[in-house]
């Protein structure tokens, strides 16, 4: 069921227009916020899938990168009064360092599969505790407040609208990047690593190098996401950007959406964000556990019924499979 090129183009164009126009619609403030978060989650998930899906190095520690990205901005701003742009750059550099520090020993010494996941989980939790205990620098459990500052005052428009466009651009950037990777030699090699590491090595794939690149790239993008968080919310707390809970969300949204495809995680974020955001709005209510409980049930169902994620399910339903992006066959050439 392949749509004609013309039809596809029109659909995409109208989607694009809708997206561009959203801030101008008279939506309730809360709904607008959820839409922003939707793009934010989709961005984070797409960043995650580069290492967690393409290469299947399932990381439950990505919250570390979000946290570093966010806190770099916060700390540099509150302690040294450095602009967020510098904070962002520092954040990205730091996350890449952390990623390499974690990744190199792991990948060099064959820490694979579940072991790697454990290591990332431990990293996430430890980072949480470290940040909380360094009260002097990070404000401990109370977090850091980010005053509006230079950038926002330069942008005379409503902060929310600007944030919206920023995150939309970031998201599409990540999306195109993921797509480009999947259809490149890099993507092929990551797929090889995912399917069978030993066979990949025998085919000449430098596993260490490619895993590290994937992890670092994913980390760097995630850090930028953290930076966005800091600026958007103006307030960073350990619970918001660090710890296992955040990691779980990123990973499960991506996996539920489909970790083999460049658009999979976005789909996952789209489906699941409503759950997590409903929780936030119910804070303190009597039924505050319900949405997450349903989320859990949803995950169980997806794991069982759609192992390749929702997008995998839809994809096989439509009779195509995107594997390393192509599933080429001889005839097409």
């Amino acid at each position: 069921m392949k749509l004609e090129k013309g039809v596809r183009f029109l659909l995409l164009l109208s989607l694009l227009i809708v997206i561009l126009v959203i801030p101008l619609l008279p939506l309730p403030l809360y709904v607008f916020h959820v839409i922003i978060i939707l793009f934010f989650n989709a961005y984070l998930c797409t960043a995650w899938v580069i290492v967690g899906g393409f290469a299947k190095q399932v990381s439950l520690g990505h919250s570390t990168f979000v946290g570093i990205g966010a806190y770099s901005i916060g700390v540099l701003l509150s302690l040294f009064n450095l602009t967020p742009i510098l904070g962002g750059i520092v954040g990205v550099l730091m996350t890449v360092c952390v990623a390499l520090t974690l990744g190199y020993p792991c990948f060099r010494f064959g820490v694979r599969g579940p072991y790697f996941t454990f290591a990332t989980m431990a990293l996430a939790e430890v980072m949480y505790y470290v940040v909380v205990s360094l009260r002097g620098i990070t404000g401990g459990a109370l977090g850091i407040f980010i005053p509006p500052g230079v950038i926002s005052s330069l942008l005379l428009l409503n902060k929310k609208i600007v944030s919206y466009y920023i995150i939309v651009v970031m998201f599409f950037f990540a999306l195109f990047l993921a797509r480009k990777i999947q259809h490149s030699k890099f993507g092929y090699y990551l797929t090889a690593i995912r399917e069978d590491e030993d066979a990949a090595e025998a085919c000449g794939v430098d596993i260490l190098k490619y895993k590290l690149v994937a992890l670092s790239l994913s980390a760097a993008l995630t850090a930028l996401g953290g930076a966005f968080y800091a600026i958007y919310y103006s307030y960073i707390t350990p619970d918001g950007v660090l710890g296992l809970a955040v990691s779980f969300q990123i990973a499960t949204m991506s996996l539920a959406g489909g970790a083999k495809f460049w658009f999979g995680p976005a789909v996952g974020a789209l489906l699941i964000t409503p759950f997590t955001e409903t929780v936030r709005s119910m804070l303190g209510g009597r039924f505050v556990g319900v949405p997450m409980l349903l989320y859990g049930v949803l995950l169980l169902i997806v794991a069982r019924a759609a192992p390749d994620g929702v997008s995998g399910f839809i994809s096989s339903f439509l009779g195509r499979s995107e594997s390393a992006g192509n599933t080429e066959s001889y005839e097409r050439h």
């Binding site: 030699k185 092929y188 090595e201 085919c203 000449g204 594997s323 080429e328």
Partner: protein, 239 residues
């Protein structure tokens, strides 16, 4: 004839077990060398050492005169030493075509160049018709050919085939043997075949090396090895 691959005094231990004991094997340029021996003789271990999945405790491996003993598998693959696996290891969830692409990408960064190589390789191994099939569901014989196709796309100089004939019907075996012979003739590959099915190698190989309990016990043209009493003893009752 020039020696393209040389295994010198290689010893490999696993804990208390000596899998390879001072093994010397030479592969000459454009030669088809058969490596036979009973189960547990160390044949696959030898391939693993040559290709870099294991490091030997003692000894060296030379390729074209260069010491490659300590190089990791992917470097050796790039240099031109490639292998297939005894229990086939295709990339299960992707198509045959994509499987071979991964091999083809070894020597090029361009996807279109890789596609060319892939197509050639698929033609060579007769896999054109199944190129779009996801490799998980393929029968063994086809998977074995897929491994060869993938390795071919890597444009190696030395090919180590690990029990590539096992589990095939006699007809399939002949086809693969023909393929191997043509690989030597047309592409100029030097091939080391590890096999259990000795009869096939008697026809196909230029020389045979017999391994038993980690030691080389016989070496030479097929006819003389077949007459060797030591070899017969080691193969008591086997084909």
């Amino acid at each position: 004839m020039q020696e393209i691959l040389k295994v010198m005094n290689v010893t490999k231990n696993f804990g208390g077990l000596t899998a390879l004991d001072d093994v010397n094997v030479t592969l000459k340029d454009k030669e088809i060398l058969g490596l036979i021996g009973p189960n547990g003789a160390g044949k696959t271990t030898l391939i693993n050492v040559i290709v870099g999945f294991y490091r030997p405790e003692k000894g060296k491996v030379f390729f074209n005169g260069e010491d490659i003993t300590d190089s990791p598998p992917h470097t050796k693959a790039f240099k031109g030493v490639a292998r297939t696996f005894q229990l086939t290891k295709p990339f299960s969830n992707i198509s045959v075509f994509d499987n071979v692409m991964i091999g083809a990408l070894l020597r090029t960064n361009s996807l279109s160049a890789a596609r060319e190589k892939t197509m050639k390789s698929l033609e060579r191994t007769g896999l054109k018709e199944v190129s779009g099939v996801i490799s998980k569901g393929l029968p063994t014989g086809v998977k074995k050919r897929l491994e060869i196709a993938r390795v071919l796309a890597m444009e190696p100089k030395v090919l180590c085939l690990d029990e590539v004939l096992t589990g095939l019907t006699p007809v399939e075996m002949d086809e693969i043997l023909d393929l191997i012979r043509s690989l030597r003739k047309d592409e100029g590959l030097s091939i080391m075949i590890v096999e259990h099915v000795v009869k096939a190698l008697m026809k196909g190989a230029d020389r045979i090396v017999v391994l038993s309990s980690g030691k080389v016990i016989a070496e030479g043209p097929p006819k003389s090895v077949a007459k060797n009493p030591l070899v017969k003893e080691v193969y008591l009752g086997r084909s």
